[in-house]
């Protein structure tokens, strides 16, 4: 009998390389995210941060290295992978709500089809989630009838309906009008406080300061800095991070 292992990290990436044709978008990325941690990934556009996020549920396959979610290596495309993805919530920049389904049906689809949750139980959970993100009164509407902020909150509810172990956010507020950014960030901040493991790719420095346990700074496909928000914003170590912060914080 071996001694029980300590809890595996929720996300573990080791020696991950990813190419788009000749372009080397992820260079030997190593990252461990323990359970309950909120990680914000920052970096200039084209630094590979979105790609990093998308490799974790294998929306982007990698060329070499290993990725594990909750101790389980990512399987190849198929039923196994679908099962693992069900435990990994994802929120997209462009919401990607199912255009032909009402908001509540968007939230119900995966729990009933994938998890085979009985419909009354699923509906109860869906209503609760829509209340939590503040759009219970929009449940019967179609995505196109909602504002961007409401759509993104619905998308968060849809991901949470699967009771995921970890949530990935791929620039969740980048497609929103400025006045709607806060309502989405508020939902995310609450989620972070409740102990959800989160990996958030964003440009929202306020969110990084307030809600993150850890900041990862990426440039040219590499993780350049890995520190706490306070450390990163007050005393960045690398010149690239200094340069990046100088550009965004001066105005």
């Amino acid at each position: 009998m071996t001694a029980p292992n300590p809890a595996p990290p929720m996300i573990k990436m080791a020696g991950v390389d990813k190419f788009f044709g000749p372009l080397h978008v992820l260079k030997n990325v190593n990252l461990e995210v323990p359970k309950g941690q909120v990680v914000v990934v920052l970096g200039p556009s084209g630094s590979g941060k979105s790609t990093l996020c998308r490799t974790i549920n294998r929306l982007e396959p990698i060329n070499s290295g290993t990725i594990e979610v909750d101790g389980q290596p990512l399987p190849a495309e198929g039923k196994e992978l679908a099962r693992l993805r069900a435990d990994v919530g994802m929120v997209f920049q462009s919401f990607n709500l199912f255009a032909h389904k009402s908001i509540v049906d968007n939230v119900l689809l995966a729990p009933t089809k994938v998890r085979k949750v009985p419909s009354n139980e699923a509906l109860e959970h869906a209503t609760e989630l829509l209340e939590r993100v503040g759009i219970a009164n929009q449940a019967e509407k179609f995505p196109a009838q909602l504002s961007g902020g409401q759509q993104q909150r619905a998308a968060i509810a849809r991901a949470l309906a699967m009771r995921p172990k970890v949530m990935l956010f791929d620039e969740p507020t980048s497609a929103l009008d400025p006045e709607m950014v806060q309502e989405v960030l508020d939902v995310m901040t609450t989620l972070a406080k409740e102990g959800m493991t989160m990996l958030v790719v964003t440009h929202e420095m306020g969110f990084a300061r307030k809600a993150a346990d850890r900041v990862i700074f990426m440039a040219d496909g590499e993780i350049v800095e890995d520190s706490t928000p306070t450390e990163f914003f007050s005393a960045p170590k690398s010149n690239r991070a200094k340069d990046f912060l100088g550009k965004i914080l001066t105005h």
């Binding site: 039923k79 990994v88 997209f92 199912f98 255009a99 032909h100 689809l109 089809k113």
Partner: protein, 215 residues
């Protein structure tokens, strides 16, 4: 008018046969065509190649030749003996499904890739994603060309008249055998086809209206 009244039972039974050919072939080709479209977007290369070959062959062959094959060549294979009416339904279904496949596939291409990504991220399998997310949206996008394909199918049923089927296309033969005025008879045939197409057009309009909200 006398042609119509004197031969009313001929018109009735012939158009009855036409409707039967149409109904069975429409349902068959919509199902088979959608299935073929799913194969054509499948991640499995063998499925894609098989469906592409099927569509290439059936779409590039004149319908009459498909009928010839099933009337004269297929019986030589001695698999299952088919009467003229089922033979016509098989030929029309296989031929039309190739067109339905291409219409549905073009519909699938209109569905933004994010819809499929969101489905996959939620843990839906490929077939669940197609059935619950992609196909419903694809079909909404292709109602007009799909109805056009069905209208073409309705008119294509008349080819069966050349292969021992007593459908609307055979009315002129029966009339000329009986010495009646074929030209007037054909006029009536054309008129009834126009009548039959109207419900399809109305169906198209109401589907487009109902589904316009979601887009």
């Amino acid at each position: 008018m006398s042609v119509l009244t004197n031969f009313s039972s001929l018109f009735l039974s012939a158009f009855g046969t036409t409707l039967k050919l149409f109904a069975f072939s429409a349902v068959g080709s919509l199902i088979l065509g959608t299935f073929l479209a799913m194969l054509r977007v499948s991640p499995v290369p063998v499925f894609r190649a098989a469906a592409t070959t099927y569509v290439g062959m059936l779409r590039n062959t004149p319908l009459t030749l498909v009928f010839f094959f099933f009337t004269f060549a297929y019986p030589l294979l001695k698999i299952l003996k088919l009467d003229p009416d089922p033979t016509a339904i098989v030929a029309l279904t296989l031929y039309t499904s190739a067109f339905v496949c291409e219409v549905v596939r073009s519909g699938i291409n209109t569905v933004p890739v994010g819809q499929a990504e969101a489905s996959r991220a939620l843990g839906l399998t490929f077939s669940q994603m197609l059935a619950s997310v992609v196909l419903p949206q694809a079909l909404r996008a292709v109602v007009p060309p799909l109805v056009s394909t069905m209208i073409a199918l309705l008119k294509n049923t008349t080819v069966a008249a050349g292969f021992s089927v007593q459908d609307a296309g055979s009315i002129s033969y029966s009339l000329s055998e009986a010495g009646a005025d074929t030209l007037v008879g054909l006029g009536w045939v054309a008129f009834f086809f126009v009548l039959l197409v109207i419900p399809l057009t109305l169906l198209q309009r109401s589907l487009e209206k109902r589904w316009s909200v979601a887009r």
